[in-house]
Amino acid sequence: MATTTPSKPSKAADTARDNRAKLLERAMSRHSYSGDALIEVLHTAQELYGFLTPDLLKSIARKLRLPPSRVLGVATFYHFFSLEPKGEHSYIVCLGTACYVKGALGLLETLERRCAKAGRTSPDGKVSVNSARCIGACGLAPAVIRDGEIVGRLTPRQVTEDLDRIGVK
């Protein structure tokens, strides 16, 4: 979502947007617009849009015939759903016990000092910082998922260098 938004959206962007609404509609109809499928529908919505806006939640509530409070309740209860746009880069620090024993807190501290608190995005929209409960790469502890890729055996120093490289102040 950090990509520049031109004042007049191009035609291609328009069709892509239409497609997203269509795909979301299809996911809801596959579950016969049943309220039981709310979590599946939110998964699809986040996959398509990147994060969940109030308008998106309201429209899902209307279509599944659920009170908006229930939809917001579910969307905020689960860690996986994000109500904020994500940064250009993403760091997810594993805080599983193995990573903790091998010094994951030091990595998180570095990221929090330079970018944003876990669960947030830096003010310049550059980096999202998150923590996870065991990503299962215990053999590579301490591990971080950087832009979708698992990087293992990291030190705070390597993280600092990495942040310098992508131009974080």
């Binding site: 229930r70 599983g96 016990t97 193995a98 065991c134 299962g136 215990c138 590579l140 293992g152």
Partner: protein
């Protein structure tokens, strides 16, 4: 597919594999993938093509081979050799049958007679490293779905349950409830509609057993669920899997499609009148959803908050219907029990705990990875013989089992047999199988704080003792680790332990004090030292 066809496919596939000059298995579990297994596999494929050996040498994937610390792992079937730290450049030597080329790899060969392998007993992980989890015929070739075929044609549902009861199998999710009894409870219900649910919401930090089973042998779990459906009279199953487990989700989706297409699941299982469908439900990151009533709420599309029990799910579960909930490893044990008989299974393990247990070894241990040991093996065997001990000449301090609901086991109990009762006696629990080893560098008060922080974050907020209590306990522990604790804090901490244990609604809150209680019991001197230091600082 009918039962005759199933046996035909098994024979044909076995014969086909035997004709190959070699079959090379690349570990495709998350641990190896994260250190470059995909590139190794691609380069193996390329080398086979380059050498024109497509007809003779087959490259395929495999489930977790266990020794994650030495990934990427590759096994060559022709000479039954396992190689570690394989790089893409070594693919040519692996593909070549030439002994001279093979010599290049000698340094990478892993000794499979070492205690790490020799002391393990594999039931759940038996197929890891010998079949490709994405190919149905591979599972059939190693005898897959034969147990289901046997049950639906030759056994009545009560006979299946009897076999499970005889095996003495207990729930592998942590609590250890006898599986046969649970099945009987669900089977007894008169409702027309019942459900079978597989709990794959493995949330303990440091535990990755279930993920490995789902990634490495998804059909085995489906077969176990279908057997459960047959035994209790359910026609619909759900697998509730963590959203973080992308690869496991993908493998399960593939496996369900394959099984449906082959009539191993669906409306006519193996051409008989038995119906069983399985659907996936993807979790969204809430540890509490591992609790069965919270898991049910989450499948129903609600916030994952537990409710009061009774009624228990076998009476009133998913959509208020009788529901059987078992964990991944429990279901994975079912097909071999039906195939080989309950008596065979009961011959492994101890008096109260039968069979084997899969453990994820992590932390300060040489052989990080996935192992399976018979119940009753001692911690010393698991950590020092199988696990290879502490790296860099470190000294063992504690082993943590059971995640945030478990405890820390000190050195004096290393010879205690690992089974449900013995671990409970020393203030820990079997849990789902995460085993984290800590050496002298671990600060036990901080370990307690770490787990309390976990419970505080993951508390669902429904009941006050857990919602507020975990925050208070965490604050006290954080003060202590900063060296600002007082003796009154320690008293309050102990009181809160009792309060949470006795008044919380679900297992999360009731067991949240366990890491504190066990560190207080065995490492009280560390708490005292912190208090003394903070007094010293105040003077």
């Amino acid at each position: 597919m009918t039962i005759e066809e199933l046996s035909d496919i098994q024979e044909q596939e076995q014969a086909r594999q035997q004709k190959l000059a070699n079959r090379i298995y690349c570990c495709t579990a998350a641990g190896c993938v994260s250190c470059g297994a995909d590139r190794v596999r691609q380069s193996l494929h390329a080398e086979v093509k380059k050498a024109g050996l497509q007809e003779q040498v087959e490259v395929c994937g495999s489930g977790c081979m266990g020794l994650c610390s030495q990934g990427p792992l590759v096994r060559s079937a022709a000479d039954d050799a396992l190689y570690g730290h394989v790089s893409p450049e070594e693919a040519a030597a692996l593909v070549s049958g030439n002994p001279v080329d093979r010599q290049l790899l000698a340094g990478k060969r892993i000794d499979t007679t070492a205690p790490f392998f020799a002391l393990q007993h594999k039931i759940v992980l038996a197929n890891s490293g010998v079949m490709d989890p994405e190919i149905l015929n591979d599972y059939i070739a190693v005898g897959g779905y034969q147990a289901l075929a046997h049950a639906v044609t030759e056994l009545s549902p009560p006979e299946v349950i009897e076999e499970i009861k005889q095996s003495g199998l207990r729930g592998r999710g942590g609590a250890g409830y006898p599986t046969g009894l649970k099945w009987e409870l669900v089977a007894k219900q008169s409702s027309q509609i019942k459900y079978v649910v597989c709990n794959a919401d493995e949330g303990d930090p440091g535990a990755f057993m279930d993920r490995s089973v789902l990634e490495g042998d998804p059909h085995r779990v489906l077969e176990g669920m279908a057997l459960a459906g047959y035994a209790v009279g359910a026609q619909q199953g759900y697998i509730y899997v963590r959203g973080e487990y992308g690869l496991a989700i993908q493998r399960l989706q593939t496996a369900i499609k394959q099984a449906e297409r082959a009539d191993l699941l669906g409306n006519r299982v193996l051409g008989t009148g038995f119906q069983f469908r399985v659907d996936l439900r993807i979790g969204a990151g809430a540890f509490v959803c591992g609790e069965e009533t919270a898991l049910i709420a989450s499948i129903e599309g609600k916030r994952g908050q537990p409710r009061q029990r009774p009624p228990y799910p076998p009476e009133s579960g998913l959509w208020e219907r009788p529901t059987l909930i078992n964990n991944v490893e429990t279901f994975a044990n079912i097909p071999p029990i039906i195939a080989k008989g309950g008596e065979w299974f009961a011959s492994i393990g101890t008096a109260g705990s039968k069979g084997t247990k899969v453990f994820a070894l992590a932390g300060k241990i040489v052989n990080t990875g996935l192992i399976e040991a018979p119940m009753g093996a001692s911690l010393r065997t698991i950590i020092f013989d199988i696990g290879g001990g502490i790296p860099d000449g470190g000294r063992f301090k504690a082993a943590q089992t059971g995640g945030p609901s478990g405890g820390c086991i000190p050195e004096q109990f290393l010879d205690v047999p690992v089974d449900y009762e013995s671990l409970a006696k020393i203030g820990s629990i079997m849990g789902s199988g995460g085993l984290i080893v800590m050496d002298e560098s671990s600060d036990m008060v901080d370990v307690a704080r770490f787990f309390m922080e976990f419970c505080m974050d993951e508390s669902c907020g429904k009941c006050i003792p857990c919602r507020v209590g975990t925050v208070q306990m965490h604050d006290i522990l954080a003060r202590m680790t900063r060296g600002e604790g007082t003796p009154a804090d320690l008293d309050m901490l102990e009181q809160l332990c009792t309060l949470l244990r006795e008044t919380s609604l679900c297992g999360l809150g009731q067991t949240a004090p366990n890491p504190v209680l066990s560190t207080l019991r065995f490492f009280r001197h560390e708490y005292d030292a912190k208090l003394a230091a903070s007094r010293g600082g105040a003077q």
